[in-house]
């Protein structure tokens, strides 16, 4: 139990995530992918006669169960399987972020940016609202996210997924190195 409560190393977490691919296939021919659930919510709640949202979302309701599970799993891990240990960050990352204006390194997310009280600040709007918008817009435009393209797509040797994954990384590098240093200071 004590081992479970420690942070898990990559060589445990990675293969376990990889095993979700065959698990979903064998459970019922389901392709691993998360971002499609965002479209599901749109189709179920606000279809607004948009052609792309006119489909029977109920046929794919398995993935809503899957993400409900993720929320539940997050709750279980956060409340019962964790002991408060500070994140072991690379000192270089800490130094860079501190220089750029991040002050609080105690949680998994910087509390000075990602909290409800920051919602109506320029920085809060940019990081939570604008950032979330880019995630939802981009993943659907790309036809998948880290799970659907990077893990499921690459596992099944689909080259469009390799293109998409390279673009995910390229976009991330551009944001991190060229834009984020200014946005954090706002």
């Amino acid at each position: 139990m004590e081992i479970i409560k420690q942070p898990w190393p990559w060589y445990i977490a990675g293969p376990l995530i990889g095993l979700i691919v065959p698990a979903l296939l064998l459970m019922g021919n389901k392709s691993f992918g998360i971002s499609s659930t965002l479209r599901q919510v749109c189709a179920a709640c606000i279809p607004a006669k948009i052609p792309f949202l006119q489909y029977d979302w109920r046929k794919d309701s398995w993935n809503l169960f899957f993400v409900a599970g993720i929320i539940l799993g997050g709750f279980i891990a956060g409340h019962f399987l964790s002991i408060p240990t500070p994140l072991q960050l690379n000192p270089w990352t800490t130094a860079m972020l501190r220089q750029q204006g991040i002050k609080d390194f105690s949680g998994l997310l910087p509390a000075g940016i990602f909290s409800l009280s920051q919602l109506f600040t320029v920085r809060g709007l940019l990081f939570m609202v604008m950032g979330g918008f880019l995630v939802g817009f981009g993943t659907r435009y790309a036809g998948g996210c880290t799970s659907g393209h990077a893990i499921m797509g690459l596992s099944s040797l689909q080259w469009p997924s390799l293109v998409a994954t390279c673009c995910f990384m390229a976009g991330g590098f551009i944001m991190t190195w060229f834009l984020l240093p200014y946005l954090i200071r706002l």
């Binding site: 942070p7 095993l19 604008m130 993943t139 435009y141 293109v163 673009c167 976009g171 991330g172």
Partner: protein, 149 residues
């Protein structure tokens, strides 16, 4: 909305509950391996840690071997259907959308899976980010025909 009147009972829910269990495990892994941490994503994009590369890389290799074995051994699903994997066709959205998601991934420190797990482990901010992500998907759906693919 084609067959919204199809009867769906507890059987359907029971069928789907196995995906709930799979999701619970995935959510636990995401939290325990700190994938949901904004700081870990910053480390990754700064090339200052192997952690995230190790996780994604070993997940892909495990998935690849699994799919190879499923095909080689011609494994069937639990309801005895042959396993099929839909083909992904290239379109320019893979590039444009990929870049846009990359920007969002680095700023929020979260991919869609992480957002759900963050929400579950008690980060209220994730609720805002997730709602914005849903809004982003909606706006994409709305503009889809006008965008280059």
């Amino acid at each position: 909305m084609t067959d919204s009147n199809t009867p769906r009972g507890s059987n359907q829910t029971l069928q789907n509950s196995k995906y709930l269990v799979a999701g619970v495990l995935f959510g636990i892994i995401l939290v325990k391996s700190e994938v949901i941490s904004w700081f870990r994503i910053q480390e990754m994009f700064r090339g200052q840690s192997f952690h995230m590369y190790g996780i994604i890389g070993s997940a892909v290799i495990t998935g690849m071997i699994s799919i190879f074995l499923i095909k080689r051994l011609q494994l069937k699903t639990i309801t005895q259907e042959p396993v099929t994997i839909p083909e992904k066709k290239f379109h320019w959205g893979n590039v444009y959308g990929g870049l846009i998601f990359g920007l969002g991934w680095a700023i929020t420190g979260a991919c869609p899976g992480s957002l759900y797990a963050q929400l579950g482990s008690g980060f209220g901010a994730a609720a805002i980010t997730l709602c914005s992500a849903i809004a982003g998907t909606w706006v994409y759906s709305r503009l889809r025909e006008k965008l280059p693919h």
